[in-house]
Amino acid sequence: MPVIDRHKADKAGDALFKGVSYFFALLVIVLMALIFVVLFKESLLSIRAFGFKFIYTSVWDPVAGEFGALPAIWGTIVSSIIAIVIAVPVSLGIAIFLTEMAPKSLKGPIGTAIELLASIPSIIYGMWGLFIFAPLLSEYVEPYMVEYLGFIPFFNGAPLGIGMLPAGFILAIMIIPFISSVSRDIFQMVPPILKESGYGVGATRWEVIRKVVLPYTRSGIIGAVILGLGRALGETMAVTFLIGNSHRISIALLDPATSISATLANEFTEAVEDLYLSSLVELGLILFVITFIVLALAKLLIGRFSYKGGNL
């Protein structure tokens, strides 16, 4: 092949390859936009019928064609908050244990075990919760909770083993491996010289953690927690098994409730009327918007820390 032809072929190949890879990169942005557009278009029917009332009313009656999303939104947010309240201290405990305390021979195996557990499908957590954990709760834990802590409105309700609190608890167990492996990675980024300076002036291990490690990693850890919150908000299978699917807002956390994802999982294939289906899609849109905002926030915080995303 003459040199000039070959040069042309190379140029064409370059343009093609660059073009194709550019196309697929843009595809991601298009995909994100398309999700918003398609969900919005499909929920138009429900948006026109209910307007903003959809968000703040709590009647969910498919037979009468009346839909209010408040119980589902409430359940999504409350179960995620329960999960975060339980998971964050435990996860930080695990991360601190792994980075600052564990002997070398334990660090590797426990770290790997935690990462492996983060990869277990969420349906396993949900199923375990339903078959093993819920019966134990309803027999040995919840009756005593109602008896001794029942004066606090939160710890009241029907001791069925199924409800908002059990769902939040299983959600916590599910996100613990995720938050702890991300925060372990962040703790490991503290320059050793900072910690050594702390120990050098006679600080105890806890003082080094509290006054050097935590302040240094603050924005990263907050980001990791919000990332965990994002996961909890959108999680379906772990919640659906345990939340009880009841469209009623109750301050008593032992009572059955529902969440956006559980409502979708349970009712989507049964919805035959257009308005019912459209209301369910609007629920999905609301969930997507909530998680988008939460995750964007996490990304900005972690981005400042130049930490590049969690482990799978």
């Binding site: 991601v28 398609v38 969900l39 405990g93 557990l117 349906i123 379906t236 998680t291 964007a296 799978l312």
Partner: protein, 283 residues
């Protein structure tokens, strides 16, 4: 006791207290995680037998039968999802690491993929339902595969970008200096250098989507029989586990445990294997 040694004791005490709390919470978390694993093994393993892998589900309420069609369905749908998601993800990752780098488009793509990675998978299911199920008149294997590929895409993009970036620029420059065109440098030099890392990332992405349930509930739906037609509803292990676990029959619950064991074992093995590959590279 003088003030100074009291102060010292107090610091020691707080240190001990905080560290014990940390150890206890670590123990608490690890205890639950292993408890779950133990139950999955002890209930799931006995449910596995020859007919579990070879037979179709028995009619509701009847004993026996297996989940052969669901096992096949999971492999089929995951396979197609991989065929769609992996090439597009690697190419988009190539754009980020080889062309876009610090450009505005690249940073937007990174931002969007990072959000898509953690986006609720059930919403992806709703999206694909509106896009591919409703207009085309029914649940289908291909809709399930598209839903899984959307979940896979951002994972593959981010890991392949990370892995491609690990190839030193000097290697690229050396190949370019020999007169190779940019695309040949990318395919023959950069890809080769990042092959192991990208393979690991792909394996992890495949493991992750093979355990997904939510996006399949209203895309590929379910089926009690063998299905080889891509435009028909298809059973998958995860959706079958969901239906069986929610169902009333003891035999179904056992099957669900068996399925749970199988999917957990596959996911854990793939994850462990990919870690071993990475470790060998480091050594």
């Amino acid at each position: 006791m003088d003030a100074q040694s009291f102060h010292y004791m107090r610091r020691k005490f707080y240190n001990l207290l905080a560290l014990s709390v940390s150890v206890i919470s670590a123990g608490f978390g690890i205890f639950f995680l292993f408890w779950i694993l133990k139950d999955v093994i002890s209930f799931g393993l006995p449910a596995l037998n020859g007919s579990f892998f070879t037979e179709l589900p028995a009619p509701p309420g009847a004993e026996g039968g297996g989940l052969a069609n669901a096992i096949f369905g999971t492999m089929l749908i995951t396979g197609i999802a991989t065929a769609i998601g992996v090439p597009s993800g690697i190419l988009a990752g190539t754009y980020l690491s080889e062309y876009g780098r610090k450009s505005r488009v690249a940073s937007v793509v990174r931002f969007v993929s990072d959000i898509l990675v953690s986006a609720p998978s059930i919403v992806v299911g709703v999206f694909v339902y509106a896009l591919l199920v409703k207009p085309f008149g029914g649940f289908s294997a291909i809709a399930g595969a598209v839903a899984l590929s959307i979940i896979m895409l951002p994972v593959v993009i981010r890991t392949s970008e990370e892995m491609l970036k690990l190839v030193p620029d000097a290697t690229r420059e050396a190949a370019l200096a020999l007169g190779a065109p940019h695309w040949k440098v990318t395919v023959h030099v950069v890809y080769r250098g990042a092959l192991r890392g990208i393979t690991t990332g792909v394996m992890l992405a495949v493991a992750r989507v093979s355990g997904e349930t939510a996006p399949l509930l209203f895309t590929s739906f379910n089926n009690s029989f063998w299905n080889f037609d891509m435009s028909e509803p298809t059973a998958t292990l995860t959706v079958t586990i969901f239906n069986y676990a929610m169902g009333p029959y003891e035999d179904w619950h056992q099957k669900a445990w068996g399925g749970a064991f199988l999917i957990t074992a596959i996911v854990l093995c793939v994850t462990l294997l990919s870690r071993l590959i990475v470790r060998r590279k480091a050594a």
